[in-house]
Symmetry: C2
Subunit: 229 residues, 2 copies
């Protein structure tokens, strides 16, 4: 059985959980707190970051690396699921969007919100725990609008984000958006096409475990798990 | 003909130039200064980052996306060059190392050194130009030793960084190392195995254009282009 080191508030981890569920691969989940810098976890992934997937005892580190690995071993060749377009330029566009959401949006918004609002409540003071830094939060929150506008534009101009069919880009984006939505930071009425796209993703069986995620220090917004939001 | 938007002091750009040269693909090079935030370049890559490869008029954005694209269109299927191992776990390890050097090492060292020492000399004051910030430089420089120790360990324990054969990991790492070496920041006597590995890379014909790189505001260290250093 596969093992995934993850955290419920890590968009890259949610992304891999979605893929594993789409491929119907049973996986053992272990919650890892990056900020603890656990020595034993560093022997699994020297970078100390999640997600990490264990295939047997071999670690596969990082969302895009795991995605390519799953595509090669559980994807198109083995199942009915094709989450890459058939042509190289199409795949390049899907990979670009995955990076956009999992790296750019993550670095500009998510990791700051998660650190300031969630991790800092759990961390001891000596490791940086305490009250959130309001100026960091303000900057991160101000980045939401342009990202949501772009998402709305993509959803308005394409059947799915990466083109004419459902792709890894949709899973990467929805994993990221689901964390912003958990925190109640998306004014859905301003982004109607993104809303309809997210509603389609949300109703997939693979999304169920994401919608069941709850963390101790922060409850989700009321509509978080509603398919009709 | 392909076109590459790049900068001589961008490790991700050097990485793609190495691959294009290995594949023998004629490419037009255009120097792009990310900090200028040129509007026309944003229409090519909304993220405003280099490298970007134009295939005809279609942009392919980001080093790892371009690498996968070149592998699919100019790689194993078309030429004698196989820079991915044949098995999925081997490819995962190569991709992990590419991210290690092109993202982690870049974020912890290179981008700070390049910004503080080079870009800031070219930028107008209104955009952040001026004297380098010594505390940022100090932090970045202190990260060199652990990264070089890891590189030395990899070079000591494997034929090539990613395993038993030359792979994308070697090109990603050597592209990054070549910028540190240009700046004279590597004490090669402390890392003998990394030295021998880099000497092998340096002597490949694909490295010639990298070794010919010069920028106006900073001359390279004396041994930079020597194959015997």
């Amino acid at each position: 059985m596969l093992t995934l080191f993850h955290h419920p508030m890590s968009s890259a981890s949610r992304y891999i959980r979605l893929l594993l569920s789409e491929y119907g691969v049973a996986t053992q989940l272990i919650v890892e707190y990056e900020w603890q810098k656990r020595y034993k976890f560093r022997t699994v992934n020297l970078a100390g970051t999640i997600p990490v997937l264990l295939e047997g005892k071999t670690p596969i580190c990082g969302a895009s690396v795991i995605c390519e690995y799953l595509d090669e071993t559980r994807g198109a060749y083995k199942t009915q699921s094709y989450f890459f377009p058939p042509n190289p330029l199409g795949r390049a566009e899907v990979r670009r969007l995955c990076e956009w959401f999992l790296i750019k949006l993550e670095n500009e918004i998510i990791r700051h919100l998660v650190r300031e609002r969630i991790y800092k409540q759990e961390m001891p003071k000596s490791q940086g725990g305490g009250a959130p830094d309001s100026s960091i939060l303000r900057t991160a929150l101000s980045n939401i609008q342009p990202h949501m506008q772009y998402l709305n534009w993509l959803a308005a101009n394409r059947d799915w984000l990466g083109g004419s069919s459902l792709s890894y880009a949709d899973f990467a984006a929805s994993a990221t958006v689901s964390i912003l939505d958990y925190m109640g930071e998306i004014e859905w009425t301003s982004y109607p096409m993104a809303h309809d796209w997210y509603a389609r993703l949300k109703s997939r069986p693979s999304f169920r475990s994401i919608l069941a995620d709850r963390i101790r220090v922060m409850a989700p917004i009321a509509h978080y798990a509603d398919l009709d939001f």
